[in-house]
Structures are given as structure tokens and as C-alpha cells.
Subunit: 160 residues, 3 copies
């Protein structure tokens, strides 16, 4: 039984989206659907890319599965308000080391600004570890609220 | 190891309660005990009923186990304040599809109001997916704060 | 597959730290590193010590693993502000019963004050259960903010 939680995920994907919904939670739910991670049970975690975790364009997640995810999410019901969310994953040169995922969300910024900030955060965190960076991948979403809106960006971990 | 997180839960139960405690966190802890989900390690997830997940009146959870749960919770230390929490699970007609769990909590509302709202949220989310609903189950709790209070409602997923 | 989530953790450790970072999330990330739980994917849970869970001075966690943890964390970017976080784990006399973990964090208090409060919370929760306490272990951290700071204290559960 020791292997259960110690089974380290080995694939990841990035996705993002923005959405409107009946309520703030409905907007979040629709954003998950639009990101291709809806219809699963997301378990939020703090936020490391395991060593040798392999990028996948798409990952098929079983309906209702428990899915480890790092995400940035922001909701608002203030009509006309701009919201943005972004995540970045920094991949180390040394493949025996882990990468780092960072999340950022804020009001009244663009997705480009959010993505620029979250990339800086990932760079800083890798530098703090003394890890050289091979590359950083990132994704973001922005939204202008109509009634109840959400901007969402995530890194999903999974097993192949 | 691929089966670990991908093992989708196949039973669920609903429960709710209200409680007082020494602090807000103690009140939450007592509410968990009163709901029959205390003495476990709840892992919060966003919030899908897996396909063919089977309703159980009662589920025996091992002490200290990691338990996936969707919940609404609200705490307050404002004497006399009314708080309420509710969850709803919408079950689809098509048994190959997943259901949807929604959570809602607020100040100064009754449990009936909270439950009415959370049912609307679940309906809207299923409609947004284009899923026909077989039925919706829901549960709620309300509390009037004495010193430190909590209202709590949850859907617990587990394996049989 | 029933054994997956029902595999109850059987070892635990306590750790704490304080840190500065580029942003509040970076400060949190550095605090995790300084606590010896960084470079893993922490999954926050509410907060029970399983029966017969064994204390370990140090636990080696695989890089990027999903790690169940109960933690107190507080961040601030208000220069000069004092922040503190503490956790306590109460161990029952009756070894068939579970223990209880409590978390507390606040602004403008010392680590000693935070630790005193969280110990009271753990005592109260065990008393509420009618469990006699064998002992309480606790840990805390405090920080005076320079730019972006974090105080962090945790109980990590794992399997041996």
C-alpha cells in the first residue's frame, strides 16, 4: 500500500479557458469543461512537476476520476470587470530534478500580463533552488464579466 | 501504478450538520463529527458524481483515511448570525454519463433557501452539459451562532 | 481498487519554517522548501492522525509525489508585519483511536502565542470526542515581513 500516494505522476498537460455561468461556482464549472478537465474531480495541489514528467498535448481523463491539478482561478460578478489567470511550468535541464509550477490570477489585468508575471515567478523559484531551466511552458485566460465570470488556467498531472 | 488515482469512486453518501466549537476550526471539526465524516482526512475536490456511482445511506470510513469529498461549509463568530450550507447531486438519465455536485453556503439565509439555490445550480450545470436529469438529491444545514459556529453539508465519495 | 484511498497513512512528521519570496506564492514555496516538504505536491486535508501513526524525525518524500498534509500558512506583503503559524497533533491514550491535528495562523502574534492557541484547540477537540490524551506534539514559525513573507507549519502523513 505504500505505493499509492507515492506513485508519482508522469505526464502533464496545460489548459485554460474563460466562461460565464449562472453563479460563480457554475462559471468555474463551465471553465473546467471548456478546459477539457471538467467532468472529473480536481484535487488541488501545490505545485511541482515531477522529474521526467512528459508533456502531452491531450490527456484523456476518466469521468469522475480524482485528478491532481495545479491551477489559477478567479471569479467575479462585477459586470465589465476584467479578470485573468495564468500558470507556468519550468522544466529543469537536469532531468533528475523536478520542475516548478506557478499560478497567478488577478483583477483588471490582461492574460499577457498574468502570463508574464507567472513566468517570472517560475523563473525566480527555479533560481532559488539553484536549478537551471531548460524551458518554461505557460498558458493563460482572460475574461470580461457579463454576469458571473471565471478565468482559469491549469497544469494537470496524470499517469500513462 | 496507473490505476491509483484513476480508480474512480463508486459509492456516495450525503450528510450535513451544524455545530459550535471553541474556535471556528473546532466548530468545523465538530460539524464533521456530527456528519459522520469526522475522524477522517477529508480531501476537497471539485465536484463530479462518477458514472454509476451508487447511493448509500451510510458508508463506514476507516479512521484517518484520505476521503474525497465535495462540501459546502461556512463558519462565523458573530453571535446571533444565521449561516447555512447545502449540497446537491444531480444524477443523469444516461448511466454512461457523470452526475454533477454543487455546493452553496451563505450568511443570513435558511437551509431551505440554500438548498433551493444549490439545486438550481446543479440543474443549470446539467443543462449546460446537455444531460437529462433523472433526479437531484440534496441536503443542507443551518445554524444560529452562539460563539463559534459552523454549518456543513457534503457529498462523500468512496469505494465499495 | 477499494484499498487505494483506504490505505491509511502510518507515519508522520512535523515541520515549520518562515521565508521571504518574490511574491506571496514564492514565499510559500520557499517556506515549503525550508520545511523539507518542498519539491512535492502537497494535498491539503482536514486533519486527523490515523490510529497508530508513528512519529518520524525525518521522512524522505519522493520528488513530485502527492503528499497528504495538514498545515497552517499565512502570507503578508505588509513590511514589518509579524505573522505566525502553528500546528498541533494530539495523540490518544487508546491506540485504537485516532489523534487530532489542529492548525492556527494569525497576524501580529508570536509563534509561542500561536502554538499555545493551537494546543488548546487540539485539547478541546480531543475532549469533545471523549478521548484521553497521551501527549500533544506541536511546532510553529513566525516571521517579520520584509517584502513578501510566509510563516508555515505542517504535519505530513506518509507510508513506511
Amino acid at each position: 500500500m505504500i505505493d499509492i500516494f507515492s506513485s508519482v505522476p508522469n505526464i502533464y498537460k496545460l489548459s485554460s479557458s474563460n466562461a460565464e455561468g449562472l453563479t460563480l461556482l457554475n462559471a468555474f464549472d463551465v471553465a473546467l469543461l471548456e478546459s477539457g478537465v471538467g467532468n472529473t474531480n480536481l484535487v488541488k495541489m501545490s505545485s511541482i512537476l515531477p522529474p521526467n514528467c512528459e508533456y502531452q498535448e491531450e490527456i484523456k481523463l476518466p469521468l469522475g476520476a480524482l485528478v491532481p491539478v495545479a491551477y489559477a482561478s478567479i471569479v467575479s460578478d462585477k459586470k465589465g470587470q476584467k479578470i485573468a489567470a495564468a500558470v507556468a511550468a519550468a522544466i529543469p535541464k537536469d532531468k533528475t530534478k523536478n520542475g516548478l509550477i506557478m499560478e497567478y490570477e488577478n483583477y483588471d489585468i490582461s492574460k499577457n500580463e498574468a502570463e508574464r508575471i507567472v513566468i517570472e515567478m517560475a523563473k525566480w523559484g527555479m533560481d532559488r533552488r539553484g536549478y537551471e531551466i531548460e524551458k518554461i511552458v505557460s498558458i493563460s485566460a482572460e475574461h470580461t464579466v457579463e454576469k458571473c465570470g471565471c478565468a482559469f488556467a491549469c497544469v494537470v498531472l496524470w499517469w500513462k
